[in-house]
C-alpha cells in the first residue's frame, strides 16, 4: 500500500506543482524517487509533527496542496490539536497520511501500534477518513483524496499486501465496494484486514456478502442499510480498537436504522496487549486470526 501511495502521489505531484509532500523524518526507501523527481515539492520537517501540521495549514492557506506523512500515532495523536484547529476548523486542503495500520509495527510495542486513529479522528468535523484495503484501493484512495478539496486522512498499512481487486473497482469517497454477494451474513472489512476478510468469507460455511469499506467517514450508511435487508447478520472486521472504528460507525447506522439484526464487531479488545510480536502473532493474541474470526462468525 505504501508503494502504491508513493507512486500515485509522485504522478499527481508531477502534474500539479501545488502538491507538497511533508514528512516527519520518515519515508526511507519510499520517497527517494519523489525527492529526485520533485525536489521543490518535498520538505522533511524533522521530528516535529505539531509544527509540520501547522506548516501544512499555512501552505494550504496560500493555495498549496500539502500532504503530511508519518507513522500513524505520530501523525494522528501527537498533532491531534493541530489537525483539529489548524486544518479541520479552517477546512483546509491538507491530506494526512499515516502508515502502519493496526499491528503493522507489532514487535515495536504499543507506542507504534495504530489502534485509535480512526476513533479519534472520526470525531472531528470536516475530515474524510479513508482506510484502503489493498494496493489498488490505496492508489484509488490517493487519487480520490487529491481530487477532493478539504481535509482527508488516509490510513495505510505497510508494503506488500496482496492485491484483492483484480479489476479496478469503481471508487467513490463514502462508498463501500461489494466484493461478493451472499444471503446469510454480511462481512464488512476495512484497511489491512481486507485480505483476512476474503479468506474468512471463503472459510465460513455460510453464504457471505463481502464488503470492503475503504471510507470510514462518511460511512456508506446506504450500503449498511441495504445489507440489513439483504442478509441475516452483519459482522465488521478491523485491526483497530473495538471502540470508535469501523465497527462503531456501522453500529451507529444499524442502531438508528430501526431494523434489528444480529451484529458483531470483530476488532482489537479494549486493552493494551501485554505481549509483543509480529503482526500475525498480535492478531492471534487479539482474536483476529482467520480461524478465530471464522469461529466467531459460525457462532452468530
Amino acid at each position: 500500500m505504501r508503494t502504491a501511495f508513493a507512486k500515485t502521489l509522485l504522478i499527481l505531484a508531477k502534474k500539479d506543482k501545488r502538491i507538497m509532500l511533508l514528512t516527519g523524518d520518515l519515508g526511507y526507501s519510499v520517497f527517494e524517487e519523489f525527492q529526485r523527481e520533485c525536489p521543490k515539492q518535498y520538505i522533511n520537517c524533522g521530528v516535529a509533527e505539531q509544527n509540520m501540521t501547522g506548516v501544512a495549514a499555512g501552505l494550504a492557506l496560500e493555495g498549496y496542496r500539502p500532504c503530511i506523512y508519518s507513522i500513524i500515532p505520530f501523525i494522528s495523536m501527537r498533532n491531534f490539536e493541530q489537525i483539529r484547529n489548524d486544518i479541520c476548523y479552517q477546512n483546509l486542503n491538507v491530506k494526512i497520511v499515516g502508515v502502519g495500520s493496526g499491528f503493522t509495527y507489532g514487535p515495536y510495542g504499543h507506542t507504534h501500534h495504530a489502534l485509535e486513529d480512526i476513533g479519534i479522528l472520526r470525531t472531528i468535523s470536516n475530515i474524510v477518513i479513508m482506510a484502503p484495503g489493498d494496493p489498488v484501493e490505496a492508489e484509488l484512495a490517493t487519487k480520490a483524496a487529491f481530487s477532493y478539496k478539504g481535509p482527508v486522512y488516509i490510513r495505510l498499512g505497510r508494503n506488500g499486501e496482496p492485491v484483492i481487486h483484480t479489476k479496478k473497482p469503481k471508487f467513490t469517497i463514502g462508498r463501500g465496494i461489494v466484493i461478493k454477494d451472499g444471503t446469510d451474513a454480511t462481512i464488512i472489512a476495512t484497511s489491512n484486514m481486507l485480505d483476512s476478510a476474503v479468506k474468512v468469507a471463503q472459510g465460513v460455511m455460510k453464504s457471505v456478502r463481502l464488503i470492503s469499506m475503504p471510507t470510514i467517514k462518511p460511512i456508506d450508511a446506504e450500503l449498511v442499510r441495504d445489507s440489513i435487508h439483504k442478509t441475516r447478520a452483519i459482522v465488521t472486521i478491523e485491526e483497530h480498537s473495538i471502540i470508535g472504528g469501523l465497527g462503531s460507525a456501522v453500529a451507529e447506522v444499524i442502531a438508528e436504522s430501526g431494523g434489528g439484526i444480529p451484529f458483531q464487531r470483530i476488532a482489537v479488545p479494549d486493552r493494551f496487549t501485554k505481549t509483543i510480536g509480529t503482526q500475525e502473532f498480535m492478531r492471534e493474541a487479539n482474536g483476529l486470526g482467520i480461524e478465530q474470526i471464522v469461529k466467531k462468525i459460525e457462532n452468530i
Partner: protein, 275 residues
C-alpha cells in the same frame, strides 16, 4: 495620509475597553499590552488595503495570541476592514466577533486560533509558500515578498510547538517571517519568572538562528522604526521582543496584575476611562 498615531492608539484602547465592559469578558490586560504593536503594523508597516482583505500580495498578520483578539478587532474596525458597529457583537449571541479569532467570518482575520503555540507554525508555512510563489514571479524581486507577521504572547512561548516552528523557520531562511512577542511578563496564573522563566529570551531566539531585537512595546515611533527595519538580517527570520505592560492604559487596579487576564472594568472604571 498623515495620522495622529497616539490618538489612534487611544481610540483603539477605548474600543477594547468598551468591548470588554459590554461583554463582561476576560483577557483585557493582554489586549491592552499589544495595542501599539498592532497600530504600528496596520497604520505604518504592513502593505494592506482594508477594501481588499484577500489581495494575494498583501502582508499577513497571523494573530497567534488569539485570546487577546479584542485588540485585533479594534484595530481592524478602526482601520476600515469592517464597520465599527460590529464591536457591539463581541462575544454576544449571534455576534460576528468571537472571543478567539475565526477566519472567514471577520475580514482581515487571517487564521482561526485560540490554542497557544499554533500561529507560528502556520505563519512559517505561509511565509514558506509566499517565498516559493514569488520566486517564480518575475514581477517581484527578492526584497518584496509578501511578509507574514505574527504576534505571540510571552506565556505562549512555554509551548514546545513554538520552538519546533522556530527551528523550521530558521532552517528554511524565512526572512519574510516576523514574529513579535508581547512580553508583558505575566501569564495566565502568575509572573513569567515565577511560573516558567523564559529568560534569557532574546538569546534563546538568537540561539535558534533568528535575528532578534528588543524594543519598548508602547513606543509607537521606536516600534515603527524597528518593524520597518525587518528583516534585520537577510536569510533569517526576525523576532521583536516587545517589552510591554499588561493592562497598559486600562483600569489602575488591573495594571501589571494577573487579575487583568480575568476581570472586566467596573462601571466606575469604565466611565472614568471612556469619559
Amino acid at each position: 495620509m498623515t495620522y495622529n498615531f497616539s490618538e489612534i492608539a487611544a481610540t483603539v484602547r477605548r474600543d477594547i475597553i468598551r468591548m470588554c465592559y459590554e461583554a463582561q469578558s476576560a483577557h483585557l490586560g493582554g489586549s491592552l499590552s499589544c495595542v501599539e504593536i498592532l497600530v504600528a503594523l496596520y497604520w505604518r508597516v504592513m502593505h494592506i488595503d482594508p477594501k481588499r482583505p484577500d489581495d494575494p500580495n498583501r502582508d499577513r498578520l497571523f494573530f497567534s495570541k488569539a485570546h487577546d483578539v479584542k485588540a485585533l478587532y479594534a484595530v481592524l474596525g478602526n482601520r476600515g476592514f469592517f464597520p465599527k458597529e460590529w464591536f457591539f457583537g463581541y462575544e454576544k449571541d449571534c455576534g460576528h466577533l468571537a472571543g478567539h479569532a475565526v477566519r472567514g467570518i471577520v475580514p482581515g482575520v487571517e487564521i482561526s486560533a485560540g490554542s497557544l503555540g499554533h500561529g507560528l507554525s502556520m505563519a512559517a508555512g505561509a511565509a514558506f509558500a509566499l517565498k516559493k510563489r514569488t520566486m517564480n514571479d518575475e514581477q517581484r524581486t527578492v526584497n518584496n515578498y509578501p511578509r507574514v507577521f505574527t504576534i505571540l504572547s510571552d506565556g505562549e512561548c512555554d509551548e514546545g510547538s513554538v520552538w519546533e516552528a522556530a527551528l523550521f523557520a530558521a532552517h528554511h531562511k524565512l526572512d519574510n517571517l516576523i514574529a513579535v512577542i508581547d512580553y508583558n511578563k505575566l501569564q495566565a496564573y502568575g509572573r513569567i519568572k515565577d511560573v516558567l522563566n523564559l529568560e534569557p529570551l532574546t538569546k534563546k531566539w538568537e540561539a535558534f538562528c533568528w535575528s532578534a531585537r528588543e524594543v519598548d512595546g508602547h513606543d509607537l515611533k521606536k516600534l515603527t522604526t524597528i518593524l520597518l527595519a525587518t528583516p534585520f538580517v537577510k536569510g533569517k527570520p526576525s523576532v521583536i521582543i516587545a517589552h510591554t505592560i499588561k493592562g497598559f492604559g486600562g483600569p489602575k487596579r488591573l495594571i501589571e496584575q494577573v487579575s487583568s487576564q480575568y476581570k472586566p472594568p467596573t462601571e466606575e472604571e469604565y466611565r472614568e476611562l471612556i469619559g
